[in-house]
């Protein structure tokens, strides 16, 4: 255990003492939502977007935040001061609460944690990754719920396939990874990303904005067939930023090496962040 401080229902406590009673609806019924943002040199990156999405997820899942956005920002600032983890991940979690009948949503429990950040492993960008595919759509694609049963269950298959992650699709139309969004670059240098059945990723949103200054960007249907003819593919997330994909199932992408446009967009995103954080 560590000396980290966590926020639980109005109090700052040691994370090792942060417990929920077993009547909580997350434990009983897997019911809850969360969001996750990153700090860089003690500054939360795109915090407003993450908090807005946290509130949107709560509303979609009929959960009532017990406090308002400015208070959440203040709590996060206090956690940053207390914990002194300059480069961290901040997890905001809202559960269905201590339900007397193990079914009805009641007053939610709010937890905010700060952990050291696990960024993409060194060398992985330069190497690119292999992913597998699986037919699945999250139950509430627009909400960041805590339900990762499928992603976690597929970990065995991912490892057996010597892959790193799994790309979901429905009848050949791809959507997202359990924790990342997906992009391809076509032979004509169009940057395309799935529009349907996805979580609106913050990094995805930034990449769409930044890429639009240099390329044609399309939010549209992307099929497994599109992937096989793509020049590049990559995933985006808060912790990975951009990670090139060089193989999807048995299909090698482009020349089997990370693409130049993925590398360019990663540099542009890194620069934008460094300006924001100055």
């Amino acid at each position: 255990m560590t000396n980290r401080i966590a926020f639980l229902n109005g109090q700052f406590i040691k994370e090792e003492n942060a417990f929920l009673h077993i009547s909580d609806l997350a434990i009983q019924r897997g019911y809850g939502i969360f969001d996750y943002c990153r700090t860089s040199n003690d500054i939360p990156v795109y915090l407003d977007y993450h908090i807005d999405r946290f509130f949107r997820s709560a509303e979609l899942m009929h959960l009532q935040l017990p406090i308002a956005k400015p208070e959440i920002i203040s709590i996060i600032q206090q956690l940053i001061s207390k914990n002194v983890i300059p480069n961290s991940g901040i997890r905001m979690l809202l559960t269905g609460g201590y339900s007397p009948d193990s079914y009805e949503v009641v007053r939610p429990n709010l937890v905010i944690l700060q952990h050291p950040l696990h960024l993409r492993p060194a060398g992985l960008f330069e190497q690119g990754i292999k992913v597998i595919t699986h037919e699945y759509v999250r139950e509430f694609p627009g909400a960041k719920t805590i339900n990762y049963s499928m992603g976690i269950w597929l970990q065995q298959k991912i490892k057996e396939s010597n892959a790193v992650d799994v790309l979901y699709h429905q009848q050949g139309e791809v959507s997202e990874f359990p924790r990342s969004n997906f992009f391809i670059v076509t032979k004509d240098d169009v940057v395309a990303t799935p529009k349907k059945n996805i979580l609106q990723g913050i990094t995805r949103k930034k990449i769409i904005e930044l890429a639009s200054n240099h390329f044609v960007v399309e939010e549209r249907i992307v099929t497994l067939h599109d992937i096989r003819t793509a020049k590049e593919a990559f995933m985006t997330s808060t912790t990975k930023r951009i990670l090139p994909i060089v193989q999807v199932d048995n299909a090698v992408i482009g020349n089997g090496q990370p693409g130049q446009i993925a590398a360019l967009l990663d540099k542009i995103l890194e620069k934008e962040e460094s300006v924001l954080l100055q």
Copy 2:
């Protein structure tokens, strides 16, 4: 809070003190399985079936039970002695454990709870219930996972529709309720129940066995159209036993009254249980 005793990871403790650390994979990722059986006059009903299914669910979800079946039976017997709740519900819950990276399944946490039983409300059997339908298949139909996000999320729609529950279907082929199985009786007195995309309910299994002595019973595809032409419909579960359904969406079933075959099967099931419990 109450004075009830719960079992948590090898210890009997007061239920009000039964907490899980927020790193548990149920809280972080909604990852866990459970089972639920009933006691009647301090005797667990069909306990072997429930424990077998609990172990099957664990295996399907790649979770390792920390103890063997006889030990679980012994713990349940001890809970029954300690709590003195003759007619109770016993909930066995196994979570993904305290995961260091909030994603990898580790050593599971095992919780066993005993609560007073909430059987079907008096008069509900005689009145029958209205249900609505919703297109959805549980992610792991064969496993009793803790993921009830859809069932809980639909509670608002159920209440707005003056209904009691929601029947899942996929492209018109019905499967199950969030916590119950489904049966119809055709105009030709065939008792039919969906075969695919369902949890193998213990009460469903008993009804199939007992009904087979009196009627043709079919496990097969049941469509929304079949329901509209059915003479009777009912749900089965551990807590409800049989509950007649008199309306599905806007379709009134039969003459809008609970059916005679549902009533007969309920009596036969009650009798079988009373013999078992002697």
